[in-house]
Subunit: 449 residues, 2 copies
């Protein structure tokens, strides 16, 4: 009898397209070399048009275009030439059941036909998050989800990312923690302009609104998760990484990973066996069903040579961090950052929200250069993850009572919101209190409150 593993890898498209996997990932410079001249002339055309009221739309000049939506992003949202692309291929499907082949070429071709999307495509990121389609069982669950979502929208606005909220299953069997995979695959196809898809669980929030992930560090990797190689390969724990937050490169390797990953999930005829296999290797796994996190650790553990070179286990900062480790320290972090602001007037300077990255970059350079984050650090935690709290169902880990979770969430959300609202002239003077806000004095915190 064929073992689930074997049959799993037989059923995987990876064997067939091994070539694609070893090929270097979709590369910005290729396209640029190929299109340099064309794009240069295009940008010249633009810079001309932006001084006139003539529509710069090249494909559709009959229709009046709206300058605001087009130019404000430097991309032409109204240009889609009729040249055939993967969208015109009847065999290409957004669904999780059908593998996508030759995705790198397909994406490159699309980008070549949409040159206005080339600048910035190197690390352009679309964030995906989501939750269940109906009301939460926990009476304050949806209120918390709303605030978690607002926090992500704030982060994306400050850094120029698009964000998509998924609240419906794309496959009836791929539910709970498996629901993210169909959503991520569909987003990869719907966003060929994006190099990265950033999945962030609904119960995770950004607690450093200035920080930007070190994309350079990930340039040779296709998946970034918070994790520790030693715990994967020595301790064999199902918590060796956290699959609730990940950056996945929009490329063929990722398409194939998602297929392989999905084949350990509820859609697989071998689903039950995968649960047994996971528990047999990762003894601390709490429940019998195969889950997406243990499945990913399994791939790293069992097929190290194949996956480890492309999966970056980020442990140098809180790519996502355990809330119980973080929340008690927020007061000290606040004090330290206020100290930086007292020390350097540049950090006290009021500014347009849109140029906030300039001040974040300055703080990194002046005060945080080379400083690791994570446990015990006074660096703002980048992402705080309320693992075990289950805000929507309310079925939180019995280790702590619900109020510890809900109060911790409000505190962390307001800690993050203070970084946002400063740019609107206000702050929460008490992290436990959401409203009303207090106006920020000019030159705060140098000038006493």
């Amino acid at each position: 009898m064929v073992s689930p593993e074997a049959s799993h890898f037989q059923s995987s498209p990876m064997a067939k397209y091994a070539g694609a996997r070893t090929r270097p990932v979709f590369c910005f410079s290729d396209v640029v070399l190929f299109l340099g001249g064309a794009f240069m002339s295009l940008i010249l055309v633009w810079s001309f048009f932006s001084f006139s009221s003539i529509s710069p739309n090249l494909s559709f000049s009959a229709v009046k275009t709206d300058e605001s939506t087009k130019c404000s992003r430097g991309i032409d949202m109204r240009y889609d030439p009729t040249d055939p692309v993967f969208y015109d291929d009847p065999d290409l499907s957004y669904t999780i059941e059908k593998p996508v082949k030759g995705w790198d070429e397909k994406r490159r071709r699309w980008l070549e036909l949409h040159p206005s999307f080339i600048p910035g495509s190197e690390n352009r990121t679309v964030m995906i998050t989501g939750s269940q389609s109906g009301p939460c069982k926990n009476p304050i669950g949806d209120h918390l989800l709303l605030r978690f979502f607002k926090n992500k929208v704030d982060y994306c606005r400050i850094h120029g990312h698009d964000i998509f909220y998924s609240n419906a299953l794309l496959h009836p069997k791929m539910n709970s923690y498996w629901a993210k995979l169909p959503a991520v695959k569909a987003a990869m196809i719907a966003h060929p302009e994006a190099e990265w898809i950033w999945w962030v669980d609904s119960d995770a929030l950004f607690t450093d609104m200035d920080f930007t992930p070190p994309f350079r560090r990930y340039r040779n990797h296709n998946l970034v998760v918070h994790g520790w190689p030693g715990v994967v390969y020595n301790d064999r724990s199902w918590t060796a990484l956290n699959a609730g937050v990940f950056l996945i490169r929009n490329c063929q390797w990722s398409m194939e990973l998602i297929d392989t990953w999905t084949n350990m999930g509820p859609v697989s005829p071998e689903y039950a066996k995968w649960g047994q296999i996971q528990r047999s290797i990762f003894k601390d796994k709490l429940f019998p069903e195969s889950d997406d996190q243990t499945a990913l650790i399994y791939l790293l553990f069992k097929h190290r040579e194949e996956y480890y070179p492309k999966i970056y286990l980020e442990g140098e900062y809180y790519f996502e961090g355990y809330w119980l480790e973080i929340v008690p320290g927020l007061a000290n972090v606040t004090d330290r950052y206020l100290e930086m602001e007292r020390e350097d007037a540049t950090l006290r300077r009021r500014h347009a929200e849109k140029v906030s990255e300039r001040y974040g970059a300055f703080r990194e350079e002046r005060f945080l250069r080379g400083e690791r984050g994570g446990k015990g650090s006074l660096r703002r935690p980048f992402v705080t993850h309320f693992t075990g709290c289950q805000p929507c169902s309310g079925d939180h880990n019995k280790m702590y009572d619900g109020d510890t979770c809900w109060n911790g969430m409000i505190k962390a959300i307001n800690f993050a919101d203070n970084q946002v609202m400063r740019r609107y002239g206000f702050v929460h003077s008490d992290l436990g209190k959401t409203s009303p806000l207090q106006p920020v004095p000019f030159d705060y915190p140098d000038e006493p409150w």
Copy 2:
């Protein structure tokens, strides 16, 4: 004794800065004429830098910049020169209590110092919405608010607008329907790159994800609301316009309007009297307290020559529309749009979400050119407003039962979501059912389901 009206206008900054009001509104072309040469050279510098890996950051080259966030929007989010701007003025306040003076010059100066924000500034829009800071009384209230917010985020992603969710009071007295004014003012100051601030109530949603407001039509106006002059000036009704959705130009005129408007609200010593005045003129007003909507109608009615020329009462389409008028017709609208898609293959073509505007523009040109929207039209309603439903408190108008509201909302939300999810390969086959979604067949709806 000074009448509240008189004292109101004495206390208004408008008298003092009448000059500012009559001055033509902040104009894109002024800046362009002034900066044409400078910007042209800058864009040339950019187009060069975008082909190299050298940091194009002019102000802060010591710090590595993240190409993705900078280039992807064609704006430099890391450039903020040290030249003094209004943010450096200790007397400039974000709060509703203190008037802002000379805003047009201040904004123009900021834009001159941030030339990368000039292209697209003509109609660049930031959307603001929000709700109360705590959980809703209605058990499904927060779930509905979450879905209403997702809908706005979807619309903004498709059209390249930023969006900000306000869930805390910026002034303790400015609550409920008055809370929007401090939020809008703070957003105007935090977003000098934006020409328009678009307030949209939490219980309003976009039911045409393709439609873009006809900004050209509003070029000589500073405020756009859904309303009817005849009802303001003849019928004298407090429903002559709806203040739950408005576009307000980020200019000095608007700053002064907000001051004047606010002076009829809870912060005013004359608050009680304003309620009486409003009821004495607008007999159908339901409650004694002064409200923001009647206050705005009052300004149009009482000071017509001053406000009517600058306030566009949009009645040609559902700038916002009453849900009871809209929801029963959604099935017919769906059929009509499917018919268009059967008729023209361009509308059936799958495409990247980012270029959706090209197809929306095509549909306008091919099938909807010059067609009015609004009551009785089979044009998709642009914004459906669940006035009277009170999703959060649950205290809906007794004219209809709650389920009519909640079911109508789910139906309208899924109607809108179908326009979004098509670009991710899925649809709700039944508007009453949120999840799971159904995969869309290739060439749908030409190919039978």
